[in-house]
């Protein structure tokens, strides 16, 4: 699962929010209580963590390494992170997680990607001519078998492709009505793409991507820019729904989940750990400083969630 660019966007006059804040908060509202939800890493995990703290406390968080029903006390660098085990009701294995998913037991998942086409097929493996991305991980399996997939990404013309450089995650394949059934795929496929320029959904009949929800500050000119950034003739809903801007509670949850400031500071060396590292310190005091940054935040989240 690829981490989408976490570059801190210079807020425009009309939007006092960064792209990460907009994406995570809007995506966090796409789940229902008591659903089993697979979180990826990076902003796709932040979205489900905010969902659990703010909107749907009864969702059952799952990671592919084997954690089920865990609290989600901090952002995940890896689905195997130690704190993923905190508050979990089950520690199982990766094969068992995907077994359960192939049996249709996972309601939804949140994933990042590098390129997407109009039928919601995604590429996270290879960008022409010579860029190797992280690769499928469990993404190809999740897109095959999870009940539905919420995709998240910063908006950019680069992410929309008529023809993907590599198909890693199956969406609605060629868009034909029974394409997924013919491919014997278990899950329902992509349900939406949440970006900082709006939420795209997929038409029930044509399976084509439609811009269906926008932020309150977006103008007709903004919509023209979106249309121009997409290589196919993008359908925009005649009366797009308006997305609520991030709320204070959502923003607090995001900050609590991100003690490393990965999603608030783009440059790894300018984040708290990067700064300590650059000072060249390597003593117990500097280790204690790092411990404090993470444990204070995680213990605060434990109080809130457990």
């Amino acid at each position: 699962m690829t981490e989408t660019s976490s570059a801190h966007q210079v807020p425009e006059k009309s939007t006092p929010f960064s792209d990460v804040q907009l994406i995570c908060c809007a995506a966090s509202r796409q789940f229902c209580d008591r659903e089993t939800v697979f979180g990826g890493v990076g902003i796709s995990f932040l979205a489900v963590a905010i969902a659990k703290i703010v909107h749907t406390p009864e969702i059952v968080l799952m990671t592919e390494a084997g954690y089920v029903g865990f609290a989600g006390i901090s952002s995940m660098d890896s689905p195997a992170d130690n704190h993923g085990g905190k508050g979990a009701v089950l520690h199982q294995g990766l094969f068992e997680m995907f077994r359960d998913m192939q049996a249709g037991l996972v309601s939804a998942a949140c994933l990042g990607f590098a390129q997407i086409d109009k039928f919601g097929n995604c590429n996270v493996t290879y960008v022409a001519p010579d860029i190797r991305m992280n690769g499928s991980g469990g993404g190809g399996d999740i897109a095959s078998s999870a009940g539905r997939v919420v995709y998240v990404s910063k908006f950019s013309p680069r992410i929309f492709k008529d023809k993907l450089d590599y198909i890693t995650n199956p969406g609605f394949l060629d868009g034909s009505p029974d394409a997924r059934e013919k491919a014997n795929l278990v899950g329902g496929g992509p349900c939406c793409l949440v970006t900082d320029k709006g939420i795209f959904r997929f038409d029930d009949k044509t399976h084509e991507m439609v811009l269906s929800e926008i932020y309150p500050w977006q103008t007709d000119k903004d919509l023209d820019e979106i249309r121009a950034a997409v290589p196919w003739d993008l359908t925009i809903a005649s009366q797009p729904k308006i997305i609520e801007p991030p709320s204070a509670v959502e923003m607090d949850a995001l900050i609590l989940m991100d003690p490393a400031k990965r999603y608030q500071e783009a440059d790894a060396l300018k984040r708290p750990v990067g700064k300590i590292f650059l000072e060249g310190k390597n003593d117990i005091a500097s280790y204690r400083e790092v411990t404090k940054i993470f444990n204070n935040s995680m213990l605060k989240a434990v109080d809130k969630l457990l």
Binding site: E3, V41, T63, G66, Y67, D77, S78, P79, A80, D81, N82, H83, G85, K86, H91, Q92, G93, L94, F95, E96, F98, M101, Q102, N121, T125, Y126, P129, R132, N134, G135, S136, G137, G138, G139, G140, D141, S144, D165, Y166, I167, T168, P170, N184, V186, A260, A266, A268, V273, G274, F277, N282, D283, I284, S286, Y287, R288, F294, N295, M298, L299
Partner: protein, 330 residues
């Protein structure tokens, strides 16, 4: 079976050096337990480099940064994976040696099934083959290997380029319901190195926290080396039998090696050492930086204990304290 002797021994404790020189040979296929960045023995890659074992095939669903060391010295012929953590730490590349191999063919060019070959490569080194699967598919390779059956069927990936370009995956028809089904070939690696929190002398290995694919890797592999944080009496193992992921009849060697996943974290044992991780990754970004780092942290240390000494036992103890405020083993 050649390995019966090892597996029947009542005391399988040996050094890390011996476990590798005894079981891993040039040309072998190996895997490492754990998933991505946790409970993944990093020290194994350093010791393999010190022993200069080459032409290796490495298979792992989602690997850690450690494999980059062996790619950087040209020791890997074939790398089967589902995920490589290249962009895990923002702008700092997780596998800079793989990236250099891809872009410049140094130390070897890269061939990635169907889509990507190192361009303008003028040298004479054989390419490193990079083969893509999904996490579930790689786990099924070990499940089939563990069950000693030729393949496992699955329902992932029809319509994707993973299935199109990976020539070892077969899309077939389910003979019962006549629907398309994906067949994933078994894998029986020569050696599996698996990091566990506790083990006894006989090789009963216990894992706490997520389990990854380790029980299947251990049953599929011809030789299994447990790297344990702690050596305990069998009675202690019997206190939590549900956590014994790898029973002694699967184990060839037990290596007692605290902090063997460092700089990565281990559930209930120690947190990720973020300062050391940053140091290792930032140092390895350039060719010269990588060589200097290898001289300092790999060739410059006799063994893992000298490496720990270099990190600082006090610092390591801090990562243990940090983790134990969050997770405590039973």
């Amino acid at each position: 079976m050649a390995n019966v002797n090892y597996r029947a021994k009542p005391n399988k404790v040996m050094s890390e050096q011996e476990s590798i020189s005894r079981f891993l040979k040039n040309g072998d296929t190996f895997t490492v337990g754990g998933f991505l960045l946790n409970r993944e023995s990093d020290c194994i890659f350093r010791e393999i480099a010190r022993q200069d074992i080459t032409q290796l095939n490495y298979i792992e669903e989602s690997c850690s940064f450690g494999i980059d060391i062996l790619i950087g010295i040209g020791a890997i012929d074939r790398f089967d994976q589902a995920y490589i953590p290249q962009h895990q730490v923002g702008s700092v590349n997780g596998l800079p040696q793989l990236n250099r191999s891809l872009k410049e063919g140094d130390p070897r060019p890269v061939k990635m099934g169907g889509v990507l070959n190192t361009q303008n490569y003028l040298g004479d080194q054989e390419p490193l083959e990079l083969i893509d699967w999904t996490n579930y598919m790689i786990s099924l390779r070990f499940v089939a290997g563990a069950m000693d059956i030729p393949y496992m069927p699955c329902r992932s990936g029809i319509g994707t380029d993973i299935v199109k370009y990976n020539k070892e995956i077969i899309v077939s028809e389910d003979p019962f319901k006549n629907k398309p089904i994906v067949l994933i070939p078994a894998c029986k690696p020569d050696v599996a190195f698996i990091s566990v929190q506790r083990a006894d002398r006989q090789g009963n290995g216990q894992v706490f926290g997520y389990k990854g694919v380790d029980e299947w890797k251990a049953r599929a592999a011809k030789h299994v080396v447990l790297l344990t944080e702690e050596l305990v009496p069998t009675e202690r193992i019997a206190e939590n039998p549900a956590n014994t992921l790898i029973p002694s009849y699967c184990t060839d060697a037990v290596v007692v090696l605290p902090y063997n996943s460092h700089p990565h974290g281990v559930f209930g044992s120690y947190a990720t050492d973020r300062l050391a991780l940053m140091n290792h990754l930032v140092s390895r970004q350039t060719t010269d930086g990588f060589k200097a780092w290898m001289d300092e942290w790999v060739y410059g240390c006799k063994d893992h204990f000298e490496y720990c000494e270099k990190v600082g036992w006090g610092n390591l103890e801090e990562t243990r304290k940090m983790e134990q405020k969050i997770n405590i083993l039973p």
